[in-house]
Symmetry: D3
Subunit: 217 residues, 6 copies
């Protein structure tokens, strides 16, 4: 951090936070940054999502259409840059270049939450909870993989809330019936009966795959 407080102090300009991606990661990052008093901008490609964000935040965040001009300008102004651009099951797109990072203020901070999918910031590389940060061009990078592991109490409850309904259905109906009955569960199957069944995983490993529905009778 540029040794500046994210929180707001009367008479002192607040920290500027730029968040890439208005999905779950970005929206929650925005809630916290805004709650701490920062000047928050969310960049997203999807105009409908920007409209929803405007409604959700009651106009308190600035929304910006994603294009290279807007990204470059928003990154340059940021004291804190949060990368939250994810494509489920695929590599994250690299929308922030090293050149953009090099124009940030010295001491600014970059957090790439997309690091588990390879990161959406060119200078991001995976770090660990024990040695979490490094510096590129005077900018501090925090790119710990599996960030939720830092707060295991909350993460466990949150993950259980999301997975428990599936577990219940597996227990009640058995795997084959549960998969057939629920397209959402079907999409989540990675292997079945000894075969790879998830296309994106197969492609990134260069292997064969079969649709899980073909393997069920």
């Amino acid at each position: 951090m540029r040794h500046c407080l994210i929180g707001k102090f009367p008479g002192v300009p607040p920290a500027t936070v730029c968040i890439l991606g208005g999905g779950i990661v970005g929206t929650n990052a925005a809630k916290i940054a805004l709650g701490m008093g920062a000047n928050v901008t969310i960049v997203d490609l999807n105009l409908n999502r920007l409209r929803e964000l405007d409604d959700i935040f009651n106009g308190r965040v600035y929304t910006l259409a994603s294009n290279s001009y807007n990204v470059a300008r928003a990154v340059q102004n940021a004291d804190l840059l949060i990368g939250g651009v994810l494509i489920p099951g695929a590599s994250a797109p690299r929308i922030v270049t090293r050149q953009m990072i090099s124009r940030m203020k010295k001491g600014a901070v970059v957090v790439d939450v997309a690091i588990d999918q390879g990161g959406c910031i060119e200078t991001a590389k995976p770090t660990t909870h024990s040695d979490p940060s490094y510096v590129v061009d005077g900018v501090v990078h925090y790119c710990v993989t599996n960030m939720p592991a830092a707060v295991p109490n909350t993460s466990t409850l949150a993950l259980t809330n999301a997975t428990f309904p599936y577990v219940l259905r597996l227990a009640q109906h058995g795997a084959a019936a549960a998969i057939k009955a629920d397209p959402g569960m079907c999409e989540g199957v990675n292997t079945y009966a000894g075969e790879l069944t998830y296309k994106a995983v197969a492609q990134s490993l260069g292997r064969e795959w079969k649709p899980v529905m073909d393997l069920l009778h």
Copy 2:
């Protein structure tokens, strides 16, 4: 106006409004600008007032301590600059110089609400409702004197609400008794028994004055 909307549009950066002075003029200007979706900064000398503004606006405006560095920077970034620095009964201090104005974006707008006390912006000069604006260094100036006259319905009610309690007391007790009983009313007396009784007016006209209390028996 730089042909930009004060209102917020998803994906487009909002207008930046800089307000000089956090008193009644500035606070109400901020409420409206904020309500329209602008990025609002209030500049004031008084740190306690900045703290109160932070509480009143629930952190939605940026507050800035008034000094020439901060004023220059805030003016330069503004799409709309509102001058609301007033000293009751005296000339407004000129805290924005012509040089600061010349560094604003072309098409930016300046409104000097302090114009009835001479204005707090160097390039401000009085205009009228029929010919309200002029341009200096590419910046549009709106410096209509007696601005509330544009909304006489609201202004009349607002003014009556403020003055009616005094009128009532004058009617009930007579002028002398009402003035003696109420230091607030005493401060508002400009002439009494043929004498000037208001120091600031006397000084700005280079005339003699007497305290009104000395003229009452």
Copy 3:
């Protein structure tokens, strides 16, 4: 305007704003009117949309089911009436009659944003930015066509944000492939290969039309 301020003044009743239609026009008009301190009512036919508006505005606007009784009463109370009822590609329905307008307060203001589709207020007729308003039954009408043209900076960015993804797809894939791949783009095609392809336009001009999909191979 009835020479009354939309903004709120302590101790003085605020202006009453009635907005017809809770879509994008109406929702944004409500945000600004509310932000300025007005008493805002949105009238819409769609009960689910009224529920959403209640959530979005956190209960700060009054929502009203659209029927002729409710419209008549809301119009009569309004200091400012905004018409934002639009049916894409068709004429706007005329839901406010001249009789309703004639019962408004003298000096009240009507803005018909639906004027580009013929207006949703019976007394509305197109005006221009140079001569924007006229008076009917003591009520000021502002019905400038192409209102966004007044703020070209903002409008251009907003429009570009919305159209740019389509332009990108046209550039990457060519017109035929882009239209085939995207039902949204398909719906937007007005003419193709010398034929009218948009039903509503064809009908309002009394001409033949063909579905664009029939013209693509």
Copy 4:
């Protein structure tokens, strides 16, 4: 109640609540009515208090300067009228006349919280928790004396919070020293050494009184 819900229902106009007096009673009544979704107006004489209320409620209540015209109009529109005008130690002023009450909608409700000081509404007379309401001119009146007694758990804690610091000082320093040291406690003494010491009580009972400070050595 006019058999209408105070809470807000999308598409249905909310209840209108008029609150007389912007002190502790009125402000808390407004918080709850507003929270339930009502259209709330607070009437008060003090312009500075109206300004504070505007800040506290972030513009969500309508404030109205108190005069007979405004009171009459606000009372007439109300579905629920709350009287909260109190003068400490004296009778409440009767600012709502029977004529105003008779113009309210049939089934409207009046709650006079000032009833313990005689009520600020002409038609109010004390009732009890067991037989709490009566009807005048079709308007339901609820004027239970000692209303906090209905929620003894909360009232006891709230009262104890307010009185405990005084009890502590009495215990630590004794009555005479505690009264001398604290003008606030001094003002609260009703009798001392066999004498009435509270002017307003003495006057309303037509008895003699002495300042408590004269009775302390």
Copy 5:
């Protein structure tokens, strides 16, 4: 009620309200309880709905994933428990057991809005507006059937807003055509041409039924 105020009093802990179900009943109950100053928790099975509730309430309610552990704990802490878990056309699931009720504080209050579908709380049994409540294990139960009947003015408008569009279509097109054209209306038909056409009703009465579409030509 435990003789405690739902409204908030500075320095006194607020009432704790637990709401089962985050649908229309639960969301509106939460708005009012929150508006009155309570500490509000909403329990729901659907994680996406919990996320939406978090956005709608701007983080002001606590959301809890529904499972027997969480329900038991939330019920135990509540001063007021509201049951709003409904399955359209079927019996409500009994998610609160008598044992959970018996662990609530003495004087706590239970309102089962699902009572018209049998209630979602084991100890709930239907009551009437004239004798609305009873006590089980020291906990006051309010389980009036057809609760909206208490506010007929509001309920009639709200119900009319929801049903009027269907009535209009029936009047314009006749029953058969209206049912065929609108799957929503089709789902609402209970009997047609002398046959039961609503599956859930038929099942709960142990009778035969036919799909309405089979009865239309």
Copy 6:
């Protein structure tokens, strides 16, 4: 930290933050904790301050009157306890005992911002930015002296905003005249003309002192 997130996650109970003292430290701590989504309670002795906090936070924090029963209960429930009870120029009162700390959840966190005045929590002892925390009874303590030093950019601006007006007056009028003219500055003088002039400092060091006004001519 109990390895739980302060931020809010739908369906998971938020962290509970207890803040002792509702002054500048406590109010700002509450703003940030609330912004992050925590369940926040502020404990203060002053009932008027609790009322102001209720207005400032719009009912979003729970306020609690300070007494040993309330403090003990609030501390026991807290995941994060912040000590912000300060008496200017004197030692902070120790309002949290070791016994209260020992009843906190294992892994809970204590931050004593009053540590520069000795701390308001019995188990607090000064630590440094390089070795900031230690554990007592399973509770993590963070009691770094001069905490603002961690964010020197913000702290310097904030401190300068507060001190600059005094520096200006010293420069314009000289020390003696500035002190005479301003009771606030007078109160801040610690030594003058070789004498100790600040009573609390003198008392805590067991030395003589003289009022600064006696040393000025």
